[in-house]
């Protein structure tokens, strides 16, 4: 009798769940980059170093008339004193750029207090903008163990401080071993997908989808054979097709790609490209003329130098157009974003994770290379 009642209750709950569920649309939003105009511009707008410790993994948060750069900083990577810092870049009416004084916006104790449920946070890592929710962030948090035990926290910010946080429900290992690095992917229905990666065991990239309330609704993998493809950088090519560029955590010395032709529902097995690359991520942005701009290291073993390269065939071949750091200095972890005025912002860490640099360029500069 009791089991029959539970079964009937389950049927009722299932009916309600199916009725309430809206499902997911799997069509990418494809933006059209602005055409080149005006004089070519390429300028360094932010250059920051720390005397001691690390300042690494910069990300870009879009903002009107500028952007925020966020990164993690502390005595050493994965230490309890690591904080998420922010510098605000503002474009003046005359076109010049100004950066405010960097400051800490998230600390481990603060985040632990705002978590639901409240809990210990040991250290912080890669952080990106939650583009589905203005000013909010996705932060990599570690409560126990190392990076392979990290979780992704959805952090709601208020007045530049964390107000609420919860871990994304991404794995049966107590929601652990998922991290973020690359920016989100826009879908045609206004929602966003989150490129993430699982770092335990065989290791794979993933695209995470959310429901209307920001809760995880689905995830799809980008896996490979004999490789550890992580930190997917997803670039939509049209409504259905996209390419993901993946770092190989196995030190194969190659950049990997995975492709989808059904809006991200399924991804091809990650395969090595001809692009020599160290165990480090790349950043890619669609630019005018149907081309893609990539920031990459371009060397099988060294992350000393950072290059910009263009592809005119959806990522099949690349031509280096510019080298950013001619003096070897471990330039890595690039991120590229389009600003609200159509310019392109590139940020990366340099000096063996001890500093950050931001460069603004326009389409005219890219076209002139």
């Amino acid at each position: 009798m009791g089991i029959l009642a539970l079964t009937l209750l389950s049927l009722g709950l299932s009916g309600y769940a199916i009725w309430r569920d809206k499902g997911l649309e799997w069509s990418f939003a494809v933006s059209t980059p602005p055409a080149p105009q005006g004089a070519p511009r390429f300028e360094t707008v932010f250059d920051y170093s720390v005397d001691q410790g690390v300042a690494h993994a910069p990300a870009i948060v879009g903002r009107e008339n500028g952007a925020d750069i966020v990164w993690f900083q502390g005595s050493s990577e994965a230490q309890p004193d690591v904080e998420i810092h922010r510098a605000r870049l503002t474009r003046s009416p005359d076109g010049t750029w100004r950066a405010d004084t960097p400051k800490a916006i998230i600390t481990s104790p603060d985040l632990g207090n705002t978590f639901t449920p409240q809990q210990l946070v040991v250290t912080l890592g890669n952080t990106i903008e939650n583009e589905a929710s203005p000013d909010n962030l996705y932060t990599t948090v570690v409560s126990v163990g190392g990076w392979a035990m990290a979780s992704i926290a959805d952090v709601a910010m208020q007045d530049g401080r964390p107000a609420q946080a919860r871990k994304l429900n991404l794995s049966p290992f107590l929601n652990r071993s998922f991290l973020v690095k690359s920016p989100m992917v826009a879908y045609a229905d206004g929602s966003h997908g989150l490129p993430a990666y699982f770092e335990m065991g065989s290791t794979y990239g993933a695209l995470v989808r959310f429901d209307d309330t920001g809760r995880v609704r689905d995830q799809r993998r980008m896996a490979g054979d004999g490789v550890k493809p992580i930190q997917p950088m997803v670039v939509p090519l049209n409504a259905d097709r996209a390419v993901a560029f993946l770092r190989d955590f196995n030190d194969s010395g190659r950049l990997y790609v995975s492709r989808t032709s059904d809006g991200g529902q399924s991804w091809s097995k990650a395969e090595a490209t001809d692009i020599a690359h160290p165990n480090a991520p790349v950043a890619v942005l669609p630019v005018s003329g149907g081309r893609m701009l990539m920031a990459l290291n371009g060397d099988a073993e060294s992350a000393d130098l950072l290059h910009l390269a263009l592809s005119e065939d959806e990522g099949a071949t690349w031509r280096v157009i510019h080298s950013l750091d001619r003096k070897p200095g471990d330039a890595r972890y690039p991120m590229l974003r389009r600003l609200d005025d159509g310019d392109i912002l590139l940020v990366y860490s340099h000096g063996t994770k001890t500093g950050l640099r931001a460069v603004v360029m326009n389409e005219a500069w890219v076209a002139a290379q």
């Binding site: 389950s10 199916i18 409240q118 290992f173 065989s202 689905d218």
Partner: protein, 183 residues
């Protein structure tokens, strides 16, 4: 509400820990009440301390299954009628759960965990557990599955049903119980 759920889960797990340790010294009714009192008081008075926040960080989300098993164990010691799991049931569960975890680690091409986000697969899995309950006459697993489905639907905790009805600690728990049965 998810904070309340986590506090409840932590209180039950702490109660079970104290009950188990106290069971070496005092008889069952006393150890159960002692465990319950310590678990409740610890969560009410010490939840902002480092050890308890560490436990939440270590074990959350607690889900339904882990606290339910702890309560079931304590209820059995109080003399309430509890149908024990058979050795075959435990062995099958252990193998199935390890396969499930392996699939989540990417060792298998199929990702079983992602089925826990979608209403239709969850409906099918809960019904299957209820059917299994009919066959065995044991209401415990159907209760956990349906309670997990209700909480999953409430939006208070995890958005994945598996987070309510499984917990990684079940691997050592099931393995130890199975070994004790066999040897």
């Amino acid at each position: 509400m998810s904070g309340v759920l986590a506090a409840g889960g932590l209180a039950v797990v702490l109660a079970w820990l104290v009950f188990t340790l106290a069971g070496w010294v005092v008889a069952a009714p006393v150890s159960v009440w002692l465990g319950g009192a310590v678990g409740a008081l610890a969560v009410l008075l010490l939840r902002d301390t480092l050890p308890l926040r560490g436990l939440v960080a270590l074990l959350a989300p607690f889900g339904v299954m882990l606290p339910a098993l702890a309560l079931r164990h304590m209820a059995a010691k109080l003399g309430l009628p509890v149908v024990p799991f058979g050795a075959l049931e435990l062995a099958v569960f252990l193998v199935a759960y390890v396969v499930f975890l392996a699939s989540a680690m990417g060792a298998l091409p199929l990702d079983i965990y992602r089925l826990g986000y979608a209403p239709l697969p969850v409906a099918g899995m809960v019904l299957a557990v209820c059917f299994y309950g009919f066959l065995t006459g044991n209401w415990f697993l159907p209760l956990v599955a349906v309670l997990g489905q209700a909480l999953w639907l409430s939006g208070w905790g995890s958005s994945n049903w598996f987070d309510y009805v499984t917990h990684v600690l079940l691997v050592p728990v099931a393995a130890v119980v199975l070994l004790l049965r066999v040897f």
